[in-house]
């Protein structure tokens, strides 16, 4: 990879990964807040209102960082991927513009009202503002995923004489199956993050013996939602996503599992290190047949290895792709186990007394962020060496006149700025959590 391509990719990868730490939490919390506001309206109980108020404060802070770190992504299509924008903008420009017009205006209008307008609006309208934020943020997610889905599996386009991609079928592009499956998987991932954060705060207050009513409410809500979302992330959404990759990106599937040789009874390896140079997997602990089952629903199915594909179509970073996939799947499995156990104890009324599990819940909240990031790495590294799968190579999509001196300058700028931003965010959120649910109006 030449230097310019490397820096374009590094900067986009870094800014996108950092950005997505925030929207996954706001999209998850948006659902939590809507649930709490709904419960408050139905029961009239103050504890739901108080809980909603606390999470709205965290939401506002997180949303602001999500907004400001999202701006660079939209710009970077043009600044860093100019030839991609020129050649694919005739298609993906639609969804990116729709995100601005349909989602961002909705969100920005109601955000201030949600965060500061409780007294001015009254209970019902305030709940409506929460619903608007939920709709806006989840709509925004759809447009982004639909854009990405086109890059993963292009449909609804035609290729013009000059090689650029033109939109040919709007609804085939906007509502293709890949977009819907990927969206379902992405959003369940976001709810996992939101639920784990809610559960962690509940566990923290329970362990501290503070705010008993709020501690219990958050713990219960986080565990129930966390179990449901963790299960849905694996089945049906993750399962369906896996089958799509197997069908449309078989070379990516082979690389995700470090599989060089084709054959039946394909295994999933619990662990192991891919050795790309010698085309083998070191220290594997295989579970035979599982990959065949994931991909095709039968343990004996033949799964093609990388040997079935020309080398210039292999993903360019097989090692990272392999680890991304294994981290995502491994953590996802652990989430089901942890939340399943917590739900069982909750049902038996023992969760609040089982301190080791409360510790685990309190400390588990960073891992969904890692799992979501790893999942996006699987999607984006698995798509390589293509920007638009099968149509436009990543190396042919860069801003070729921009020189590395410019990209390194801006990449370093982002590194510094985002370090400070991340530290300030953590500091302010930690303050809110330490203040507790009733700290401020």
């Amino acid at each position: 990879m030449d230097g310019l391509l490397f820096w374009h990719r590094l900067q986009f990868g870094f800014t996108a990964t950092f950005h997505y730490l925030f929207p996954q939490l706001t999209m998850g919390l948006a659902l939590v807040i809507v649930l709490l506001k709904g419960l408050a309206l139905r029961t009239g109980e103050a504890r739901y209102r108080d809980a909603a108020r606390f999470w709205i404060r965290i939401f506002g802070l997180t949303f602001a960082v999500g907004v400001v770190t999202g701006i660079p992504l939209e710009f970077q299509f043009g600044t860093n991927w100019a030839r991609f924008s020129r050649d694919a903008g005739g298609v993906v420009g639609q969804t990116l513009a729709m995100e601005g017009m349909f989602a961002f205006f909705l969100e920005s209008t109601f955000l201030g009202l949600l965060v500061f307008g409780e007294r001015k609006l009254g209970e019902r309208l305030h709940a409506l503002a929460a619903l608007a934020l939920f709709l806006g943020s989840w709509l925004s997610g759809y447009f982004i995923v639909a854009t990405n889905a086109f890059m993963q599996h292009p449909v609804g386009h035609r290729i013009a004489l000059d090689g650029s991609l033109h939109l040919a079928d709007f609804s085939a592009f906007l509502f293709q199956r890949w977009a819907i499956v990927q969206y379902a998987h992405t959003m369940t991932g976001a709810v996992v993050t939101g639920a784990f954060v809610v559960a962690a705060v509940g566990a923290f207050w329970t362990l501290q013996g503070l705010h008993p009513v709020q501690a219990r409410l958050n713990l219960r809500l986080g565990v129930v939602l966390g179990l449901a979302a963790s299960l849905a992330a694996a089945f049906p959404t993750g399962d369906q996503q896996g089958k799509l990759v197997a069908r449309h990106q078989p070379v990516a599937l082979a690389a995700m599992e470090g599989r060089w040789q084709s054959g039946p009874y394909a295994e999933v390896n619990l662990i192991g290190q891919p050795d790309v140079k010698n085309q083998r997997l070191e220290n594997p602990i295989p579970l035979p047949g599982i990959l065949s089952f994931i991909a095709y629903g039968s343990f004996s199915s033949d799964v093609r290895g990388l040997d079935a594909f020309p080398q210039d179509q292999w993903p360019t970073n097989i090692e990272l792709l392999y680890y991304g996939f294994h981290i995502m799947v491994g953590l996802g499995t652990l989430f089901i186990g942890l939340m399943g156990l917590a739900a069982l104890l909750l049902w038996r009324g023992m969760l609040e007394r089982t301190r080791p599990l409360l510790w685990a819940l309190m400390l588990a909240f960073p891992f969904p962020f890692i799992a979501n990031s790893a999942g996006w790495m699987v999607a984006e590294l698995g798509r390589q060496p293509w920007l638009v799968f099968g149509l436009l190579r990543t190396a042919d999509g860069t801003s070729h006149l921009v020189h590395p001196g410019q990209t390194i300058f801006t990449a370093l700028g982002f590194a510094g700025l985002y370090l400070v931003l991340g530290l300030l965010y953590l500091f302010l959120v930690a303050r809110e959590v330490a203040h507790g649910p009733a700290a401020q109006e």
Partner: protein
């Protein structure tokens, strides 16, 4: 169809300048017109419900440009690479300044974010003005449809040009004055007491500076890109824009003198929309002018997406645009009248 999208992009960008313009102006001026923490919060309450939505017009404009004229977005964004990131970083710093400020009551914490907010707010109009200057002056687009220029070179408008030269800096300073005046008029309209008095006094001085710089920019533009004025007789929309421009300036000063704050702010808004509309009308159909060969300029006709995309996009865009205006109207209704101190922030 191409004409529809050219004007869509122009209208959205003009709305962006007019809307985010007033909160840039308020951000710049709040250090001077609001002295105490309560007064600062009054300013933030005036722009608090708006600034995020105002900024969305920029993203909407970028998205619309992407949808309809991907070649212009590709060439412009990569060509002005470093300046684009200065814009991005300013927007990030502004956003977190206004959000983080209210989370701590500490005086030093708030002073820091107030200063950051003012700096980022001042840099934005300069960058936007320079961007407009670059569009008017032209860039060294080659036959492949791309270019890339440094931030500055020899500060002259001849090749090798930089993003900043005497002309684009002049445009930056002009826009800085115009949007500061615009922000002052907005604050005069939405606030009460000492903040309003100081805003009115500032607006008066800034109005004089804006008029002087507008004249200078007009003369300079004739030197940098004479074609613009040659098109004037054939561009009826430009005359409408110029009428708004002149009428807006007059309304602003009249409103300011007679204490009719809304008239003054509306005048300043009309001035901004008018000058941008007149510029767009005189440039049409050129979107990015090549200084190397006029044939290499990117126009609404040679840089647009396919006809099907333009048509499909128009269908949903015509529904989305009134929806967005509706949100703004409703928000304006909710926040009608002068702000009450303590409306915004914890």
């Amino acid at each position: 169809m191409e004409m529809f999208w050219f004007w869509t992009v122009a209208v959205v960008m003009a709305l962006y300048a007019m809307l985010d313009g007033f909160d840039f102006g308020a951000g710049i001026l709040h250090l001077f017109v609001a002295k105490t923490d309560a007064e600062r919060r009054q300013v933030l309450a005036a722009i608090g419900p708006w600034w995020d939505g105002n900024e969305v017009w920029l993203l909407a404009g970028g998205g619309t440009l992407f949808l309809a004229f991907p070649k212009v977005l590709a060439a412009g964004f990569s060509g002005f690479y470093l300046a684009m990131f200065l814009v991005i970083w300013c927007l990030i710093l502004r956003g977190i300044s206004i959000e983080f400020r209210s989370h701590l009551g500490d005086g030093l914490w708030r002073a820091f974010w107030d200063g950051m907010f003012a700096l980022a707010s001042a840099a934005m109009p300069v960058l936007l003005g320079a961007a407009l200057g670059n569009v008017v002056r032209g860039v060294p687009l080659d036959g492949s449809g791309f270019f890339n220029i440094p931030l500055f070179t020899h500060w002259d408008v001849t090749n090798p040009v930089g993003i900043l030269d005497w002309y684009t800096v002049l445009m930056g300073v002009f826009v800085l004055a115009a949007l500061s005046c615009h922000g002052a008029l907005y604050l005069a309209w939405k606030t009460d007491g000492p903040v309003r008095d100081r805003s009115r006094a500032a607006a008066l001085r800034l109005w004089v500076a804006t008029v002087a710089l507008a004249l200078a920019a007009t003369v300079a533009t004739a030197r940098v890109n004479p074609d613009i004025y040659a098109r004037l007789p054939h561009a009826p929309l430009a005359w409408l824009g110029l009428a708004l421009y002149a009428g807006g300036l007059l309304a602003a000063i009249t409103g300011l003198r007679t204490g009719r704050d809304l008239l003054a702010f509306a005048g300043s808004s009309a001035f901004i929309l008018g000058i941008l509309a007149a510029t767009a009308a005189c440039l049409f159909p050129v979107m990015l002018r090549s200084t190397l060969d006029p044939a290499w300029s990117l126009t609404a006709y040679n840089a647009s997406a396919g006809p099907y995309a333009l048509k499909a996009g128009m269908r949903w865009w015509l529904a989305a645009f009134p929806l967005a205006l509706g949100y703004f109207a409703w928000l304006g209704w909710v926040h009608r009248g002068k702000v009450e101190a303590g409306d915004y922030g914890h």
